[in-house]
């Protein structure tokens, strides 16, 4: 159980969630990055401009 850093909603990480995974906050819809599992912690996902590099 952890909180959305944007809107504070409590978020339950489903089993099988991996570190580095991007999930969407069910309340405010912002994209969050799973930074660690125990303790579970989330950060705003990095904004990456669409890229088509090598």
């Amino acid at each position: 159980m952890t909180e959305c850093p944007e809107c504070g909603a409590t978020i339950n990480l489903p089993p099988g969630t991996e570190v580095g995974e991007i999930i969407t906050c069910p309340d405010c819809g912002v994209e969050l990055e799973v930074v660690s599992l125990n303790p579970p912690s989330l950060e705003l996902a990095p904004q990456v401009e669409e890229d088509w590099g090598e």
């Binding site: 991996e18 580095g20 995974e21 991007i22 994209e31 990055e33 996902a45 990095p46 990456v48 669409e50 890229d51 088509w52 590099g53 090598e54």
Partner: protein, 291 residues
């Protein structure tokens, strides 16, 4: 002044390519060569027990995840292609000079650092990536060398703000070099005759695309690596290059054949002509016109 991109993958013929570069330079054309290295890179990474990790970005692009170890293998792979091209050109009497974007800060790039990868329905953040986008090319260094009769051969590495080496896309390097040098034409040689209406049927070659319609054609016909080449073409047009030709790098005299009309011609302002007999290209664009 002509910039030619010699593809990194596919079965391009390095010998016939170098022979044609030599022909053009001997006949007074100023040429800069940009090359890739993905075929060499994939082979080397396998042999070194670090198989390439390709990730697909959410919008469907394939991107090579380049951590530091992969970057150093990439440096070796494109370094080898660079010096083999220089060796072959020197053997043909052309004074080639091999540079990467690190050398003399030839290419400034921006480090991505993060790739968002689509794995099944999961989206993943991959950090520590040394891939980058091309920001700027130093035309001064290239002109200094071109004016003294050197033929630059450029490897797809750039230098980030923080002074780190970056793996960058060869097509975008070629576009940026063509823009920086105000080249008359950018020629991208690949393993297909040009943009095909329906790949891989080579009879559906699209001979000509007016610059302002390029985005449309990209949406309609371009997939995967070809899409990157066309985005490179678009970038070159934006930077003032009037003509971009996508042509077949597997044939004999690939440059002359392309300039004689075999390939997809993408032209700014879209006037009616479809061929650019290589004789028409002013040989050595006089040095004044090179910035």
């Amino acid at each position: 002044m002509l910039v030619v991109k010699f593809g990194g993958n596919g079965n391009l013929n390095m010998d016939s390519f170098c022979a044609d570069v030599a022909f053009m330079v001997r006949n007074g054309y100023k040429l800069a060569v940009v090359h890739g290295g993905s075929k060499e890179m994939d082979a080397l990474s396998e042999k070194l027990g670090k198989p390439p990790l390709f990730v697909t970005t959410p919008s469907g692009f394939q991107s090579r995840y380049t951590d530091r170890e992969t970057l150093e293998i990439f440096i070796m792979a494109v370094g080898k292609v660079n010096k083999l091209l220089v060796e072959k050109l020197q053997k043909l009497g052309i004074n080639a000079i091999g540079l990467s974007g690190l050398d003399g800060r030839l290419i400034r790039g921006k480090r991505k650092g993060v790739i968002i990868a689509q794995e099944g329905e999961k989206k993943k953040v991959l950090k520590g990536d040394y891939g980058g986008t091309v920001e700027e090319v130093d035309a001064k260094l290239l002109s200094l060398l071109l004016e003294r009769g050197y033929t630059p051969v450029i490897a797809p590495l750039a230098l980030s703000e923080e002074g780190e080496a970056l793996n960058v896309d060869g097509d975008r390097v070629a576009a940026a070099v063509a823009g920086a040098l105000k080249a008359q034409a950018l020629l991208i040689l690949t393993g297909v005759p040009g943009l095909l209406r329906n790949f891989p049927d080579e009879s559906t070659l699209i001979p000509e695309i007016p610059g302002e319609k390029l985005e449309e054609y990209i949406e309609l016909y371009a997939r995967g690596r070809m899409k990157k080449k066309l985005l490179g073409a678009a970038e070159a047009l934006r930077q003032g290059v009037h003509l971009v030709i996508l042509a077949d790098g597997r044939v004999e005299n690939p440059i002359r054949r392309a300039l004689e009309g075999h390939g997809t011609f993408i032209k700014q302002g879209g006037e009616g002509w479809t061929t650019l007999p290589w004789k028409m290209l002013t040989p050595a664009a006089s040095t004044e016109s090179t910035p």
